[in-house]
């Protein structure tokens, strides 16, 4: 739920916090939280907090934000869900903590009081929050392990502003919108802007799995990373024998069901995105087995109807066989063209993805849902992307003396980068997953901007940083790269803006630190076979006709809708990136 914003005038000469600026930021986030809005500014206007609310847990007015603790001292704005809030509350109550609501928001306040900044180690969920601690004169800010919920800051050295979206920060009117070539280059190279960059010089993302504090005496402290996917895989080495104690399908059923139970906690009905893929169907089946059959929503496109890529008939058949309520929503080219301005308005940062999630979220919202579970993350988790096989091959190829020639012979536009980049996993990832290559940048963004961008944003170093410490296994490396780069900067971010624009909260039971820790030994032991074990985990298992189906992505017929690349000189995605860049006035 929600969008949050705030400002803290921590520097000596900073002007007081302006309520009207907070109001403007909050208004920009209205679709994220249509149910209520609130602003609080402290007596001497050094700090102000704002929130828009989409009520999902504790629908009473006690759950509104900004919220204070029972003593009226600490204040919080919080976007997201804390799935283990009941356990945390029970623990805090044993130590004498008191609560005035049943909301997870208040649990965060008491947890901060009890455990301080170490509180983030105990949280399970998707979140971005800021807690104002007046006694310490300190603002504490944290973002969830995977970056499911967004958070951006603009710090001019005296005032720190934050908001759930880049566009809200800009809407306040005090943050410069000047473009940052590093962030823009990131978009051209990877298809989405990599954290911590944004396309604006003044705005930075709070990186996933980090927290930091700002106080009047010491200013802004360096962000502390508290979670690392790479470390989780590194730690799982040597634990494969533990994973082998139980049948893989049984183990996955137990752990994913546990994750699902948390993700199904809600005071409003929970639906599910359903495709004909293994992840979403297995989740729906496991949710039904856990006693909460979700209302399922499938989106398909006019152009696909009746073809092999149309997943709707298969999803419908599955829902029928499992007795799940189901809606199929057909999207036409006309609807897409009509929605495009709204899509670009909601798109917080340029990205080549998110249109599919936009329409499935729209469909879910039309079906009356406020919450839906998604199988997002299943491909990163179970190793089903082509990159899991391609990266090891590319690194081997790159070490051959005639690598570039071989790649060129295969008519690959990225051929000349194979030998240059792909000798490491990080470099191979950039070659495999990159949209454009660094040499294209001058043509895309002008020579000067490109030169600055290349100096400040080294895409190879950026990818290499994601796999530190070295997970040491092929599976661990590729899974970490996929989850830390593509999933974080593109899939999750796009899901956030595209769903929030429809006041829909998307929950991702396959994207949790707890689940990864629990099954990492199994993933290392069994690799990509885990996807089939996952498909076998519900009782009864997924039917053969779903399990044996060739994997298709959930992609939008952009080429047909936008008449992209009619001359065939460019790929569909490269052409779409140019359209997006135009909408953001990047080119």
């Amino acid at each position: 739920m929600c969008g949050i914003a705030g400002a803290f005038a921590y520097g000596g000469g900073a002007p007081p916090v302006d309520r009207a600026e907070l109001q403007a930021m909050n208004d920009r986030m209205r679709p994220r939280g249509p149910d209520a809005g609130g602003i609080w500014v402290d007596g001497d206007a050094r700090v102000g907090l704002a929130a828009r609310r989409l009520a999902i847990i504790d629908l009473s007015p006690e759950g509104t934000q900004p919220m204070t603790d029972v003593d009226g001292e600490l204040r919080i704005v919080f976007n997201g869900e804390i799935y283990n809030h009941r356990e945390l509350r029970a623990r805090l109550e044993r130590f004498g903590a008191r609560f005035h609501s049943s909301s997870d928001t208040e649990v965060l306040l008491q947890l901060y009081r009890h455990d301080g900044e170490a509180m983030v180690d105990l949280l399970s969920g998707m979140y971005a929050f800021a807690i104002w601690d007046p006694r310490a004169g300190r603002l504490f800010i944290a973002r969830d392990a995977y970056g499911i919920k967004p958070l951006y800051i603009a710090d001019d050295g005296a005032t720190l502003r934050f908001a759930s979206t880049v566009k809200a920060l800009l809407a306040g009117g005090r943050v410069s919108a000047a473009h940052d070539p590093a962030g823009v280059a990131g978009f051209w190279l990877l298809g989405s802007v990599p954290e911590p960059y944004t396309i604006h010089r003044s705005i930075r993302a709070v990186e996933a799995g980090t927290c930091f504090s700002v106080d009047e005496r010491r200013g802004r402290a360096a962000a502390r990373p508290y979670y690392s996917i790479a470390k989780t895989f590194a730690h799982a080495r040597g634990q494969e024998s533990i994973a082998e104690l139980v049948e893989p399908a049984t183990l996955l059923r137990e752990f994913v069901t546990e994750s699902l139970r948390y993700h199904l906690v809600s005071d409003v009905p929970v639906g599910a995105f359903l495709s004909a893929g293994i992840d979403s169907t297995t989740l729906a089946a496991l949710a039904a087995a856990a006693g909460q059959p979700p209302r399922c929503v499938t989106v398909t496109f006019d152009e696909l109807r009746g073809g092999a890529d149309d997943e709707a008939p298969l999803a419908e058949r599955f829902a029928r066989e499992r007795g799940l309520p189901h809606t199929t929503r057909v999207v036409t080219r006309a609807e897409f063209r009509a929605e495009l301005p709204k899509i670009f308005d909601a798109m917080d940062q340029p990205t080549i993805d998110g249109v599919n999630t936009w329409f499935v979220s729209k469909a879910a919202s039309e079906a009356g849902l406020k919450v839906a579970i998604s199988g997002l993350g299943g491909d990163e988790l179970f190793g089903s992307y082509p990159a899991f096989r391609a990266l090891p091959r590319l690194t081997r190829l790159a070490r051959l003396p005639l690598a570039s020639l071989l790649a060129r012979a295969a008519r690959n536009p990225k051929a000349k980068y194979v030998r240059r980049y792909a000798q490491t996993y990080a470099g191979a990832y950039v070659v495999k997953r990159g949209l454009f290559m660094p040499d294209d940048l001058p043509m895309l963004m002008g020579r000067d901007a490109a030169a600055e961008a290349l100096e400040r944003f080294d895409v190879l170093a950026h990818a290499a940083h994601a796999i530190e410490p070295d997970p040491e296994t092929t599976f661990g490396r590729v899974a970490t790269l996929e989850a830390s780069l593509y999933m974080r900067n593109q899939l999750l971010r796009d899901t956030d803006w595209a769903s929030m624009a429809h006041s829909l909260e998307v929950r991702t039971p396959l994207v949790t630190a707890a689940l990864l820790r629990q099954i990492a030994p199994l993933l290392l032991a069994r690799g990509a076979r885990c996807k089939q074990y996952f498909a076998a985990s519900p009782e009864p298992p997924l039917p053969e006709w779903l399990r044996k189906r060739k994997k298709t992505g959930f992609s939008v017929p952009l080429k047909e809708w936008m008449e992209l690349a009619p001359d065939g000189t460019s790929t569909r995605m490269r052409s779409w990136a140019r359209v997006v860049a135009e909408a953001f006035a990047l080119s």
Partner: protein, 366 residues
């Protein structure tokens, strides 16, 4: 009624399975209609036998070797028994010698993964020490007969809260320290008790906290090296083998008993620690969850989450009160006997209906 128990070990055995078997034999012998309980063990580790009821026939000769055991089973197959219990899934083939289907007992990891299914099909019923073991057994075997959950029991009167023994404190240099304890076999092939996970958080715990690893096994040297590599060798004590009569005093040394395990079918040691009044930390992800009655008797942690283990330890060291937790009577031996008798009634078609699998109906795994 005459009962037969084919088992790995019972009297003169160490560990959870031997203990369960002794308790089962005692409970069967206490059944009003019981004429005799015959026990055929594969192994006897020590010769010190518990004093046996006169109606228990303990076939010690069967433990001399594989052949001796098979011969003993063959002899027994000529006798009449009302119920044949098979105490371990690996012994199932031997039950083929009997003209009646056996009741299989499943304890833990041995039943979590497939064994040859034809033997399962010839089974009359299955008893499991936990719901977890039952569910994992059913998930691969698809066994369709009746199942019963029969949790381990503890004789509360043999434990109780007691002071830390001065000589033991001195022996292991624990005076003035806060003590964490894990007790169990330290076997390289079974690295699922959580010794590693506790060791790994030792550097983050206060310096006056000592971790006592009690038990023996071939993985001890590796753990010693690990403690040294982590820089906590001076705060980790390896006791080696602990004699049965010193066990309760060993538990009493602990301020927190911690076992973030992943492979316990039940976790009897958790019951022992609680019976000594020591606050316990067990695992959400194996049978420990049921030993702690879903968290009502102790703290549950995700064994894969170091922050959760660390927090649970610090919480209990700060606020954990010594005392046998309310609700421990659930695992009292008297209740175990009642459950065994209910199972016997049910299997022999008695009037009292014992609902399969409903013994722990208050358990809800989340």
């Amino acid at each position: 009624m005459r009962f037969l128990l084919l088992c790995t070990d019972a009297y003169g055995g160490h560990g959870g399975i031997a203990l369960f078997n002794r308790q089962l034999v005692g409970a069967l012998a206490a059944h009003p209609a019981c004429e005799q309980v015959v026990v055929v063990p594969r192994l006897i580790v020590t010769r010190e036998n518990d004093s046996l009821s006169p109606i228990v026939a303990f076939d010690a000769g069967a433990a001399r070797g594989k052949l001796a055991w098979v011969n003993a089973v063959r002899r027994r197959a000529r006798e009449h028994f009302d119920i044949v219990f098979c105490g371990h899934i690996n012994l199932l083939p031997a039950t083929r010698l009997f003209d009646q289907p056996p009741v299989l007992i499943t304890h833990g990891i041995e039943a979590w993964k497939p064994v040859r299914r034809p033997f399962i099909a010839g089974t009359r019923a299955a008893i499991s020490v936990s719901e977890l073991t039952r569910d994992r057994f059913l998930s691969w075997s698809h066994f369709a007969g009746p199942t019963y959950v029969l949790p381990n029991a503890v004789r509360l009167e043999q434990y109780g809260v007691r002071p830390k023994r001065a000589d033991l404190l001195a022996r292991w240099g624990l005076a003035g320290k806060r003590v964490l304890l894990t007790f169990g076999r330290i076997v390289a092939a079974e690295r699922y008790k959580g010794f590693d996970d506790v060791l790994e958080i030792m550097p983050e715990l206060d310096r006056d906290i000592v971790y006592v690893i009690a038990g023996k096994g071939d993985d001890t040297d590796r753990l010693r090296r690990k403690a040294r590599d982590l820089g906590v060798a001076d705060r980790v004590v390896f006791t080696g083998f602990v004699a049965e009569e010193e066990k309760a005093d060993l538990y009493a040394l602990a301020d927190v008993y911690v076992m973030p395990s992943r492979g316990e079918g039940f976790g009897f040691v958790l019951l022992e620690a609680m019976a000594c009044g020591v606050p316990v930390i067990g695992s959400k992800h194996d049978g420990g969850r049921e030993a702690l009655r879903n968290g009502a008797l102790g703290t549950l942690v995700d064994p894969a989450n170091p922050a959760e283990i660390r927090t649970a330890i610090n919480d209990l060291l700060r606020d954990g009160k010594r005392g046998v937790p309310a609700g421990m009577e659930y695992f009292a031996y008297e209740r175990f006997v009642e459950r065994v008798h209910a199972i016997v009634e049910d299997l022999s078609g008695g009037n009292r209906r014992y609902e399969p699998g409903k013994v722990l109906e208050s358990f809800h795994r989340q």
